[in-house]
Symmetry: D2
Subunit: 108 residues, 4 copies
């Protein structure tokens, strides 16, 4: 397992997207995440009910797919907005390096 | 995206592990899932606060790693208990076929 | 990147499968690997011809899928033959631990 | 398995990178691919010698890591050169859409 590799990329608690997310955008992403949260709670119930291991694993894999898809949406928005704008303004290098790192991290 | 492939494996709502999970086992898994649920709620807050895209993606990737690890624990328990017992009792074929499918599903 | 993690699993140069591969089995796997070798040579030609980056990446991803499928076949054979026999003979523990490690390694 | 999904992205046999690869760049990539080709031939010998399944799987996983790394290098070069230039010249949209598809394809 290589979770510790995530520290290769610095977190930036005060940083915002170059183009702020609209309220509607936020709502869409949050709704997807709420569904995922519900799926994780569903998993807990499956364990509580001592459901068959394979069924739980299939459910975990569905949640992973949902997280991955949400991640791709964010990645696409980031590339089209933040990275593209940085490139246009001549600051692309740093943003592309960071993008490559996050893609590697994300596709592990 | 290939989530629809999950239907290759049937769900078995009434099926239980061959060896029931002890209360302590259940508790351990549920605790891990509760932490993951908390992380998913944390993601929602990050989106609400319009946090930087890359930070959100790193956090998604941490949740994916946590889910994967939980899945591996369940997979190991399933193999050591359900699959191994089925093999000893001469019903291994079906269990191993199912195991291979779930591994493929899980490592997508 | 985490290739160094592969050292978690020991190599066993003198070890054989518990049930030897038949000549036909060997031939089938080797044929798949020869096709993959040909695809890797094809990649070199694409680079030499200065083909478009995305086309090369698609081709790399096709080779990865072919390798993954070959790996799954070997994994299935290993589980049905080596692991299942070890379980029947009461030596399952070690084989299942090793299987779990190789699955983790393989699905990274 | 989802290899057929690769057809989502069109191949462009006549298309070149926006900035041609230098001879040195080509040589470096080809050398990496030659090493991978050698590893695939090594796999064939392992099968021929009836080597232990797990050892072969570890070796497959090492080849996958090498291919993945080569892919990342190409992806990075593509993003820094082709995509960034297209963005600067106002044709970024198409290139970023294609980039997102290839990342999804590649991280499956």
């Amino acid at each position: 397992m290589c979770e510790h590799h995530s520290i290769d990329i610095d977190m930036h608690p005060e940083k915002k997207p170059r183009t702020p997310r609209s309220e509607q955008e936020k709502k869409q992403i949050i709704n997807r995440l709420k569904r995922i949260e519900g799926q994780v709670r569903g998993l807990q119930k499956m364990v509580q009910d001592d459901r068959y291991c394979v069924d739980i694993l299939i459910q975990i894999s569905a949640i992973q797919a949902a997280l991955k898809n949400t991640g791709y949406s964010l990645l696409e928005r980031h590339t089209k907005s933040c990275v593209a704008n940085a490139v246009k303004e001549g600051e692309g290098e740093h943003y592309i390096d960071e993008l490559m790192k996050v893609i590697q991290q994300f596709s592990k």
